[in-house]
């Protein structure tokens, strides 16, 4: 089967439209899946308190803290599930959690 | 399967009865025959009784069962006469050949009244004389070919020489001894 745009495969797809063996063609396709919709609590980034220690980055289970030139940026809310681990590890209270999206 | 000669080998694990059956199949194959050579497998154990079989035919062989009514039986180890019913099903028109120092008259009482031809061969003597060691399978192979006439003497020795040259390519010094053993055994029972 030729490489397929898997964004066209949904839970409504008929069997013959699935890829062979459910193979997933193309890299990084989990980006297409917006897990941010699952969030019931949301981290808020207070950049003025942040020392750029980057402790929060490796503990994020969803790679939702983008880093550019050794500096973290605001959250990737498309994928952040709101688990709150980043807020726990931050030594400088630079991340707080709020209820809801 | 009228055109098929069936041979059953009785030996002990490690004596080369299976190899002899395969060598016989090889030689018969080279003379243009259809062949089967197969052992009856159990857990391989040195010294345990083993059985091997040959079918040699002008026609393709399809049957895949053991041989119950052989035309010929080869006994590679005479101690088996006490524990194994070696003449079971053996064709009275056929023959049995036994590796022993005893005479035909001495072994016949151990053959449960088998009425057919009985041959004996002291394969130990042949082997030790020609090879300096005890490998009973080559002398017994020559004996059964001489008795069963499944191929001519010329064909047999030509094919065996070729086969030994291939098999012992890395130790050519044993080829002559093996051929000598075949000749001595063949002529003894001929």
């Amino acid at each position: 089967m030729a490489a397929t745009d898997i964004t066209k495969i949904t839970e409504k797809s008929e069997w013959q439209d699935l890829t062979e063996g459910n193979q997933v063609y193309g890299a990084g396709t989990s980006k297409l899946f917006h897990t941010g919709e699952w969030r019931t609590q949301t981290p808020v980034f207070h950049s003025e308190k942040c020392k750029q220690c980057l402790l929060c980055v490796p503990v994020c289970p969803d790679s939702s803290i983008p880093v550019t030139d050794c500096k973290r940026e605001d959250f990737d809310y498309d994928h952040c599930k709101g688990c709150g681990i980043c807020a726990k590890v931050c030594p400088f209270d630079a991340i707080s959690m709020k209820e809801g999206q | 399967m009228k055109n098929t000669v069936e041979i059953r080998w009785h030996g002990r694990g490690g004596q080369g009865a299976k190899s002899a059956a395969l060598m016989l199949a090889d030689a018969a194959f080279m003379t243009g025959k259809h062949v089967q050579g197969f052992p009856e497998y159990g857990p391989e154990r040195m010294g345990a009784p083993i059985t091997a079989y040959n079918r040699i035919s002008e026609d393709p062989i399809r049957v895949h069962s053991n041989i119950y009514d052989p035309d010929y039986v080869v006994v590679v180890d005479e101690t088996l006469l006490e524990s194994v019913d070696v003449t079971n099903g053996l064709n009275p028109e056929g023959a049995i050949v036994i590796n022993t120092t005893k005479s035909v008259e001495e072994v016949r009482p151990h053959l449960k009244g088998y009425p057919g031809k009985v041959y004996t061969l002291d394969a130990r003597e042949v082997s030790e004389k020609c090879l300096g060691r005890y490998f009973p399978n080559s002398p017994m192979l020559a004996a059964i070919v001489a008795i069963s006439k499944v191929m001519t003497k010329e064909d047999f020795f030509r094919e065996m020489e070729g086969s030994y040259k291939h098999k012992f390519a890395k130790k050519p010094e044993v080829i002559e001894g093996n051929l000598k053993a075949l000749h001595m055994a063949y002529e003894e029972v001929e």
Binding site: Q16, G21, Y25 | F38, P39, G42, S65
Partner: protein, 403 residues
């Protein structure tokens, strides 16, 4: 010109492997299949082929590594028997559901226990629902021919399923018999190069293999697999016919021996078919109309074709070299009877079990089965169904009289 040779079944399939020269072979030894990796390793060491041989620590690993190699884009295979295959069980399903066209050279052997190294079909029959194509052989010639055809079937774009090439442990694997081999170039041309469209080592097209499939995808995935298996039927016939053109030996789903006008028939798989043919010849000389259907392809199961080939028979005995503990016979009996129910209801069909754990099956036993079928049909004797052929003592049977 075909090459006249004499080889054991294990030598024959190893020779075919050498001629096909696949990319990767991970394997772990187990009797009676051990000789296959042994011969292949020898060929590699002698420079006669350049397959990457991977010694692994178990059959779980050998099938896993075969799957990995196949997913990476290699033409891969392994070999095993009995408990070795049992240890692969999980991976067999993984190979099939991931649609990997790898080959498994199975040398059929009984499963423990009691521990036993001899032939029966309980290993492959147990794996009949894994999604592998299964092709069986009567002798060394057929196992050679089947392997040469294997990748043409499994790699076909309409199929892409793993394939199991089965032969009877010791009975054919270790018996030296005459065989006709094809020349290397003929085999290479027939099999061709493997060119997968998508594979893990293709840097231009990254991909993932074997994702989790939630309930909303699982059934659709199975239907795709099932469709591929059904497609395999046509491909098996095409490849078998094309193989006939280069070898003179054409293959289909099954061989019919004296079946055309047969009143009584036996359905059987593997080496015992040859023994049954000798029984048929003996009975035909007595004027009895008896025949054989030797099943070659068990997966996909050619149900309609089998039933139609048997539809003119008065009574049929289906012989299983496997116990399925359903209390009334084996898997071949169940499936052939089901086909007869659908397509040939008038045929009386019985199931017998034979040859478990290497128990010999003789010409005389085959003749007795045909005679029993005839006696049943003529109303002379009830047929003892579910009987174990060659069992000491009575055992469980169901006596069925003609109505």
């Amino acid at each position: 010109m075909a090459i006249r040779e004499r080889l054991s079944g294990n030598e024959a399939i190893s020779f075919a492997i050498k001629q096909v020269n696949p990319d990767v072979m991970p394997a772990f030894p187990i009797t009676p299949s051990t000789e296959i990796p042994q011969y292949v390793a020898n060929y590699i060491a002698n420079g006669e082929m350049d397959t990457e041989f991977i010694p692994v620590e178990s059959e779980h690993s050998s099938m896993s590594a075969t799957i990995g190699a196949s997913a990476a884009g290699a033409r891969a295979l392994t070999a095993t028997s009995s408990c070795g295959m049992a240890l692969m069980w999980e991976e067999l399903y993984v190979a099939a559901s991931n649609r990997l066209p790898l080959a498994l050279c199975l040398v059929n052997r009984a499963l423990s226990g009691p521990i036993n190294i001899n032939c029966d079909h309980s290993d492959s029959m147990g794996a009949r629902d894994t999604g592998f194509i299964q092709i069986y052989a009567e002798n060394n010639q057929e196992v050679y021919d089947n392997f040469v055809q294997a990748y043409r079937i499994s790699e076909h774009k309409d199929v892409r399923l793993p394939i199991m090439i089965c032969q009877d442990g010791f009975i054919t694997s270790h018996a030296v018999e005459n065989i006709e081999l094809l020349e290397d170039d003929k085999v290479k041309n027939f099999v061709g190069e493997y060119e997968p469209e998508n594979y893990l080592l293709n840097a231009d097209q990254p991909m993932a293999v074997g994702p989790y499939a939630v309930s909303n995808y699982y059934m659709e995935t199975k239907m795709a697999q099932n469709t591929a298996m059904r497609n395999a039927k046509q491909v098996i016939l095409e490849v078998g016919k094309e193989y006939g053109e280069i070898s003179g030996r054409t293959y289909g789903f099954f061989e019919e021996y004296q079946l055309e006008d047969a009143e009584y028939a036996v359905v059987i798989i593997g080496s015992a078919a040859g023994t049954t043919k000798d029984a048929i010849d003996a009975l035909r000389e007595q004027g009895k109309k008896v025949g054989l259907l030797k099943l070659r392809v068990f997966r996909p199961f050619p149900d309609e074709e089998i039933a139609k080939a048997l539809s003119h028979c008065k009574a049929v005995a289906i012989l299983d070299r496997c116990e399925s503990f359903r209390g009334q016979g084996g898997p071949l009996g169940a499936e052939v009877k089901s086909a007869i129910y659908d397509y040939a209801k008038d045929v009386a069909a019985f199931n017998l079990v034979y040859g478990l754990g290497g128990r010999d099956f003789t010409v005389e036993e085959a003749e007795e089965i045909f005679n029993d079928l005839e006696a049943y049909d003529k109303g002379e004797k009830a047929f003892a169904e579910y009987r174990y052929v060659g069992l000491r003592g009575e055992g469980y049977t169901v006596m069925r009289e003609k109505k």
